[in-house]
Symmetry: C3
Subunit: 347 residues, 3 copies
């Protein structure tokens, strides 16, 4: 596992997450782990009380908890154990795999690479592109003309940034992600053939955005496709041209958003959702997995189904659907009974 | 925005699209733009009358219209403004980012690259491959053995063409697209393990085809997978082995087509559609978003739903479905009323 | 077609598949083909009796059959013609496109590449990585730190293996596949922003696994994401973090499996299926195309629909659904009749 092995004390780690130490503050910690694989210098996390006993029996050195637990090990008590876990795991992240500019990378002479950025083997940085401090560009990445990459970004292998793309700071793009491909715009010409509408806009990605692997984000036709600060995309997501996605959204794997869609802030689109073009989805909405959104959604919508409708309504509909075969039989029976009555003598 | 700034006159541009100039034919034009961002030398487009006033108030130098509009600016009047927009945008497209063969590219000595083709940094051209005139091969593209790429093509970064793939002229493949991967063919062996059926065919892509980013097009088992002239694929589309897609089709993002499917000409498969194997979809069919096609479709089909059915029928079905919970309640009420009658004295 | 032209006799080929020769055992065979394209030295396959006549009229030299057929050509008779086809096609597979280490590849000095492995142009092999005997690494592949690739693997162009990934023997990964990207794990921090949970695990892929193009397989948060021996993934599949997929499974194109899912052995997930997180799918289950799995499935399940239910039940439900519009009309008619009765004079 890629966990660095430099020792820290439990007290040092508690300070990173504003936690209280219970037990020996000098307990040496070398890494973080799942309780099932933990070694005697590993820190583990109690996220669900039902695992307390298993953690007690594990080899782990210490445990992070929300309230002091009946576990015979030193503990760090924090308000939010899951948030503390995220921060403590980050503290043990492996070092960057590259520093400086690898001799096999191709950097256009007009590009500006910050001296503290790392450009890995066989990467390409194009004309007038700029790469910020602390950014890590992995092998095989291709950065186009006039691209701006902020500070502290990670571009995993084979990411492609087309011309004019702008990335904020601390953006993470996983391998194979493509940013700035042409939007899907065609118009039938006089002969009925599809004529390409050139896509002259760009893509602007805010600070702290992350995408999964093999994501595709199209550039605007005119103007920009925008992904707001802090929004997280999962693998194999499609973002259409001129979409404007808000901040702190969660867009789960294989979601497809057609062109010119506006998504507010803190919206969740769960796995395999599809959104038709030119729609608006209000802030704080939750769109459940596999929903097909065909109309605008107001803020705080909570929808499912295809076409999307309020989830409670969809649940009632699903319950009725589950009994539709019985309904059909009941209906036939009622008809039979009513027909039988008609045939009674007209007394 | 990647728009070149060489000046042209309004009259020159009108000639490109067989338009009539209203106002000063010498008006200098430096680019095309969205009215909201247009500068004083930009040409804009009136595609919907409701934007006439906004365009009148914009900084734009001139406007392309379908009929002369009450806009106090020089105008180009054309029969089809959207078609004119496509052509005029293309006239202002940025120059190719590369010319010649970059020294970091690897060209097999048996490959033939036309002197007017451009091979970008860190691209690879394999044994006996041929690349035509005016074609642009972006960084990191990998072209396999015996591949033919026609003239005027654009292969964006990290496109992969497997051995024996044939591309026509003016083909555009966006970043991450894979052409010629093995089809999904396995057969259980004597021990029940899945044995690979080697995929010995290839892929043939016609003139003027475009694919989006991260598309996957499988080679034939024997023979060819074929994408017909002028067909346009969006991002993240899957094309199975031995599919034969016709001409001028629109295949929107995240569509999946199983193997051995035949699609006619001018067929639209909207976003997230799935098509089962060995089917035939007739020419001029429209398959709406998220439809699951499970049977052959005759020409001019207009279908939706899963399983796909005529869209009118699916609309009626959806309307009934929307009231299914009320139907269930009505049915219970009818049953109650009928039961109550039964219990009446038999007068 | 990429078929080598070295001649073999029919008898040699029959021996490869334990078949019986009918006719001249010395018949020279240069390749395998589809009957429609077969030349006079090609071997073809009779998989369906209805093609017997067409094969008889083809130019093919000989035919592989399940029982001796009335075809006037030399024959190889085998128990399982489709299995024989797979093996005989493999016997004519083209030679590897590369041998040795291409001078443009970048191999970290700490990496170990077996002398019989081939590393293609512009590929990268990272720190402490190991590549086994007979493995072929195509152009542009990126192999991270501490990765182990077994023997006889094929990594097609632009495959990415993140740090710590482990591949067994004879693994085939098609172009653009990403193994080991971060799982989708975030937790809201004190300010409501999504905080990344670092993904410290890895991916372990068993022997004889194959993936299609542009697949994305996430690493575990802690511990491993596992793909079992012999499992085959199609194009554009998403595998979430900490999934444990069993052996000999078939996971068809565009399937998405959320995190922490357990899939047994010999499970088929057909095209565009989605599986919610933390579920278990029992061995020998069949999940039909476009199914949405929302609950655990016992072994030998056969399900379809969304939410997934037993296929027979879903078929009845679909049949009822197909008549829902008539049901609605019948219900209205019954209500009218019952209302009419109520209005009868109270005789």
């Amino acid at each position: 596992m890629p966990v660095s092995r430099s020792l820290r004390t439990l007290a040092d780690l508690a300070a990173l997450v504003s936690g209280q130490v219970v037990g020996d503050p000098g307990t040496p910690i070398a890494g973080v782990a799942d309780p099932r694989q933990a070694g005697p210098q590993d820190l583990v996390f109690l996220l669900d009380p039902k695992y307390a006993e298993a953690i007690g029996q594990s080899a782990a050195a210490a445990v992070v908890v929300g309230v002091e637990a009946p576990i015979p090990k030193p503990q760090i008590v924090v308000a939010k154990p899951r948030v503390a876990m995220a921060r403590l795991m980050a503290a043990f992240a492996p070092p960057a795999p590259f520093t400086g500019i690898h001799p096999s990378a191709v950097i256009d002479p007009t590009a500006t690479v910050h001296p503290e950025a790392a450009i890995g083997p066989l990467a390409y940085v194009g004309t007038n592109a700029r790469v910020g401090a602390g950014t890590i560009v992995h092998p095989g990445v291709a950065i186009g003309r006039n691209v701006t990459v902020g500070a502290g970004c990670i571009l995993y292998p084979r990411v492609v940034l087309y011309d004019d793309v702008q990335l904020g700071d601390r953006v993470i793009l996983h391998a194979g992600t493509v940013v700035g491909s042409d939007g899907y715009g065609f118009v039938p010409d006089e002969a009925g053939h599809q004529l390409k509408i050139p896509q002259m806009g760009n893509v602007i990605i805010g600070d702290d955005v992350e995408t999964g692997a093999n994501v595709a984000i199209d550039r605007g036709t005119f103007g920009s496709t925008v992904i707001g600060r802090g929004t997280k995309l999962d693998n194999l997501v499609h973002i259409g041209h001129n979409d404007r996605i808000g901040e702190d959204c969660l867009i789960v794997s294989q979601v497809g958003i057609s062109g010119s869609v506006t998504v507010g802030d803190r919206v969740t689109l769960a796995g395999q959702v599809g959104v038709a073009g030119h729609l608006s989805i209000g802030s704080d909405s939750m769109v459940l997995a596999r929903t097909g959104v065909t109309k605008d959604l107001p803020p705080k919508s909570f929808v499912s189904g295809f076409p999307a409708r309020p989830h409670k309504e969809e649940m009632r509909r699903q319950a009725a659907l589950a009994s539709i075969d019985r309904m059909r039989r009941d209906l036939a029976e009622l008809k039979r009974r009513l027909d039988a009555r008609r045939e009674e003598p007209p007394r």
